[in-house]
Amino acid sequence: MAGGVERRGGVAEGAVVSDVVLELQSPPGTLGSFARALTGARKRAPAGVSIPRLQVNLSPQVAEAQRLAEYRRLCGLRDDGRLPPTWPQVLAAPLHVALLTHRSFPLPALGVVHVSQRIEQLRPLPADAALALTAIVEGHREVEQGVELDLVTEARLKDELVWRGVSVLLSRRRSHQARPPRRASEQLPGEAPGSLRSVVWRAGEDAGRRYAAVSGDWNPIHLHPLTARAFGFPRAIAHGMWTFARSLGEAMQELPGDASEGVLRVEVAFRRPVLLPSAVHFSCRRAEEGVPVGGIAFELRSKDAAKVHLSGTVEVGATPEVIRPSP
């Protein structure tokens, strides 16, 4: 791997399980990764084999000011001199792609869907923070739709753990390529009362390309109707992380005034892709049953509020409860 070193760990008894550790000085290019993703499309995991522990470490990186400014503009985030809570996930995206397209990763990277995301930011991060990143994937869970796995990302500032994210990914079984069934949370037109914010945004046709330029995620499904159709989508779809960042930025404005100093915990579930171009409806409301007290629940829906694109919560706590992968 360019600019890095690959190490292999021990071999356990029974099923073949290898530890692979990639040490990188700079973020890997995504072009090579996508090429490996294309050639690895026919991968099949042998029965009984789990996903080995694969890890990639990236030396401390400082966000380029211009890139960060453009990211904020795209996601509607105010420049408060700090890194947006979603930024480490953006920085880590090339690491994730490198892991998912590694030869030791047994599943096809193409078709892996980002199902949900949890983030815990232990303290606010200055915009010029030099973050060292680690991304780990290990093991999987069998679910109805296929194989689910956790991709854990950690960010450290001078050896101090300051940010942790768990991305839940789904590798669908062939028989489950169809649309997810209608969920109970989808509702008739109109919006339930009690919203703190309710606004319709427009996601332009070029939203995927603009976000790709900032994030480095050039997955063809986000770029153009033609490239998206090659992968089964009727039009290009927005990056989940873009819709998430935009929604989170809006929702965080409803947190208490001193929220910027506490431990930030965010959870989001991605339910339905946002086709480009389209208008989507964002709303958020105060904690209710099932949502942390003092937290904000947010949703991104179709413009008539009938279909859910994503739903999430954000809260600020005093005590870090370091999030862990699902059991």
Partner: protein, 614 residues
Amino acid sequence: MTAMPALKIEDDARPKPLEPVAVAPPPPEERRRRAADFAEPGQRRTRYSLPTHLESGSPVGFRTRLPLSREEVVQALRLFALERPSEFASSGSVTERELFEEASLGVLSSRQSTNFNGHRQTTFGPADSARLSGLLRRLDGLEAPVLDGAAYTHVVFSRPYRTPFTFLLTLVGHPPVVSPFTVALRALRKRFQHADDIPTIGYLQHLHLGILADAMERAAVLASGDERRAQIFMAPFAGDARRRANAAVLEEIEAMCGLSARDRRQGWRVALVAQVGAALPHERVGLEPELCRKLGANLLALRSERIQPGVNAEESAPAQYHQRQSMDVPDELTVMAGRAAYNAFSHWTGVSREEARRLALLERVDVLTPNGKERLRDIRRELDDITDEVVRNLPLWADLPTGRALSRNAARGRKAFALAGQRIYIGGLSRREVEEAGLVWEHAVRAFGAAASRSGLVAELAGCQDLPSDCDLLTGVCLMAGPVNQNDIGKSFQGRADLLASAFPERDPTSLLVWTLKAKTVADPIGNEEQLLNRERKGALVDLRPAPHEVVQVVSGGRRTPMRHRDGKVNAERAFAEWDNFVVAPDGREIPGNRGSAWPAVWSAEAVWPREQS
């Protein structure tokens, strides 16, 4: 060049006090609300359905009226009898939020024809305001003293009124055979010389300005919690002679605002300047800050829906629209509406109230009387005849290729001339009399716009007094130029008389606006011309009101910046939202996007001109 005389403000131009008039609601069993709901999946959406969503940067949104107590109305009526400030007190800093809210009640929501945005505003801070004061003092025709110490100054530009309706007008009134040439000639004159097809289209620009001026005067009070007042100038910018006399100063003002050559070709011109400053303690209006905000939310509600005071008796209308209600517009309210009109005309022209009563020609048609019904029938017949002749004479070479769309649209205008209501005012001026009184015609037309608007507002405010919870409103107003425009087509091309000719014979009247008052409890469907004309938007309800960044720019530190356009964000906030008067379905469900999203608190709390504050 001979300086044109400034207007003399007559001592007896003081407004006559307005009194609150209660409108009796009907018996409880007759009370109805609009109770609009979302169309269920598979159900056809109609004009009576709630929109599926609102995508808009406008601060208005879809609102409902808030009930006002009699005491609150008494206080609010002071806003309709403002006198000009005599001077400004020293001013503290102005926050971004205050400026946004003031614009929300001014240029961002001022009544205009529903599918037209004809105003732009540039706002300057204290330092530039001092420079502008110097420029203003060089103007001929000032109607009031220029004040020192303005906290900020708005310069408003306006442009000629151009919409799909005026496009259609290009084809009206041409002799056959030569129409291809005369239509082309008129189109070129409209495009390059900003000529108007009929005079009343040209007047619309000025009527809108007068309405805006009246709104901005109130906006300065309400947005500042009764801390500030506005001194507004229109006269130096009205009329060709005044504009020529003031050309050098206008050029300097335009340069300060960054008016481009392209803007000028589109017809944008300086039309109004408003100095805003801290009110002297004894010149404050006397409104509680909380009431200021409640009135702000209510004024936005009045601008939120296009109220049509007629009964929507079409078969597709829900049941609540079919039932007549035992309600009348009290005669006292009609009197107050008239008084408000005269107050406004006197205020903006500087003539005495008596002179205002003489110059402002108001014909009152009481539909509840036999004579009134007959008069209304005559008007409708006349306007229908004009429409029929227009449709007959539309050039076939233009109409046929469009599948007769042009004549269909022309015929659709009949709905706009329905003139349903209980009390109807047809208003106008006599150009001859206005000019004999020493007024510039365009300026008088602006003052008349203010008069009509204020008259309607007084009636709408009465409709909120002691509003029962099972009513949307108690009185509605529809302010229309449609009947006047149609009449003007008849005058210009068919040899017909003015609408006001029978009421004011020998005075050569020019009708300018019609406003109808109706007592009812059911608000009418929201709608606008764009929705009717644009198939893709049918049922979706288009909000054509502008977002702040589209029409307002703020000059600070030498830079002109669109209002609320920052770091890729634009406004999605609804002003005065804390009053929560958003339209909801009967089960409480809200229109997605209607409530909006507040501008970041850190930004809205910032001082707009931190380095320039004294």
